[in-house]
Symmetry: C2
Subunit: 224 residues, 2 copies
């Protein structure tokens, strides 16, 4: 196998360049970004884009996958930087990293956590990247299991079902609490990112951390 060909390398660079331009366009056009506009800004004729992406939807899918990966990486990196025996600090780091990423990339965040795009169905390969943050939360909690809390039976059945599909999954109380933290974290991030706190709360970073603290109490994550 020869060293990668010139063409292959150029192709990769141009694909990257197209995605970068498309990411920029997300900011102004949201999910309606226009293939023609992207092509224009990438310095090519619209039809040329079809050498790289078979359709507009495929381009969108690439952006979505990328966004999930980028968000998850930011969250995981922040969490990994905290010493393992400080579960609450790990949680706070993770949560704040999610927030920071969302505020830094509002259009990409809206793409993955905003309104469903009418007529667009995410392909199955976005499922794995989408669950990375949840999995990190589960990991933190596994090492510091919260007290069990009664669950509605049907919900418990759901968690049992999840465990059956995923052998290393922790016990239900851990799963249940992780889900609570996950939904609350992303719910709050979405709320702030979409401007729902504007004109109400100015100290939004402090407010967010305060809420993360409330959530941590709920999971009885120990202080240092």
């Amino acid at each position: 196998m020869a060293t990668r060909t010139l063409r292959a390398r150029v192709r990769e660079e141009i694909t990257e360049e197209i995605l970068a331009v498309a990411r920029r366009h997300l900011a102004t056009d949201g999910a309606n970004l226009s293939l023609r506009a992207v092509a224009r800004d990438a310095g090519m004729v619209p039809s040329a884009l079809y050498r790289y992406f078979p359709s507009r939807d495929a381009l969108l899918t690439a952006l979505i996958t990328e966004a999930y990966q980028s968000l998850a990486a930011a969250a995981e990196d922040a969490e990994a930087a905290v010493s393992r025996d400080r579960p609450r600090a790990r949680w706070l780091a993770l949560g704040n990293a999610v927030r920071t990423w969302a505020l830094k990339h509002p259009a990409e965040y809206a793409l993955i956590y905003g309104s469903p795009v009418p007529g667009y169905a995410a392909p199955p390969d976005t499922v794995a990247p989408a669950s990375r943050v949840l999995i990190t939360i589960i990991t933190i909690l596994s090492e510091h299991p919260p007290a069990a809390r009664p669950l509605p039976p049907a919900v418990e059945a759901d968690f049992r079902h999840l465990r059956a599909q995923w052998p290393e999954a922790p016990a239900e109380p851990v799963l249940a609490t992780a889900f609570t933290l996950w939904t609350q974290l992303l719910g709050l991030t979405t709320f702030e990112s979409f401007g729902r706190l504007d004109n109400l709360i100015e100290a939004r970073a402090d407010y967010f951390t305060h809420q993360l603290d409330v959530m941590a109490d709920l999971a009885s994550l120990p202080e240092d």
Copy 2:
């Protein structure tokens, strides 16, 4: 002043009809709904719509205001139906009503709590209807003030500022807890409504109520 003229009554009916058609179109097109398509389905020529709404944005604004009012009314009605001395039940009724409305009107919900529409700024008259749910939560908590919880100073300043603008506002701890419940409630509703629990939780109604319970504990709302 004579009785309302024929023309005035017809005008009102047609305005209603246009809004109804537009609401239906939201479901398929989201916020990109097309003025021409609405006109078509309302049985008129596109330009005729301009007798009723000065622009597409004005039509969108009407839909947004309507959606806020409708959601708030559903929540308030459900809450009002519970006896006053059962604060936790009032909260559960309110929360579940918000959820039910959101699932019944996903497109309208996405319009008000989904991704910001690029290039569209909500006019100031949507602020009041948007805060009705929060106000109802504040009312419930005012009558059963939660224990005070330390707040970051900057956040406390925000709440003090809000109280200054709104003389009847309750004390900071009540405000703070109400905000927590409000953001968590709408965060969770958004999360579920946008399909983020699909393939993970099947018993979504039970899951939602469970989460409302967690939030109620957090606000130390007494059981009956």
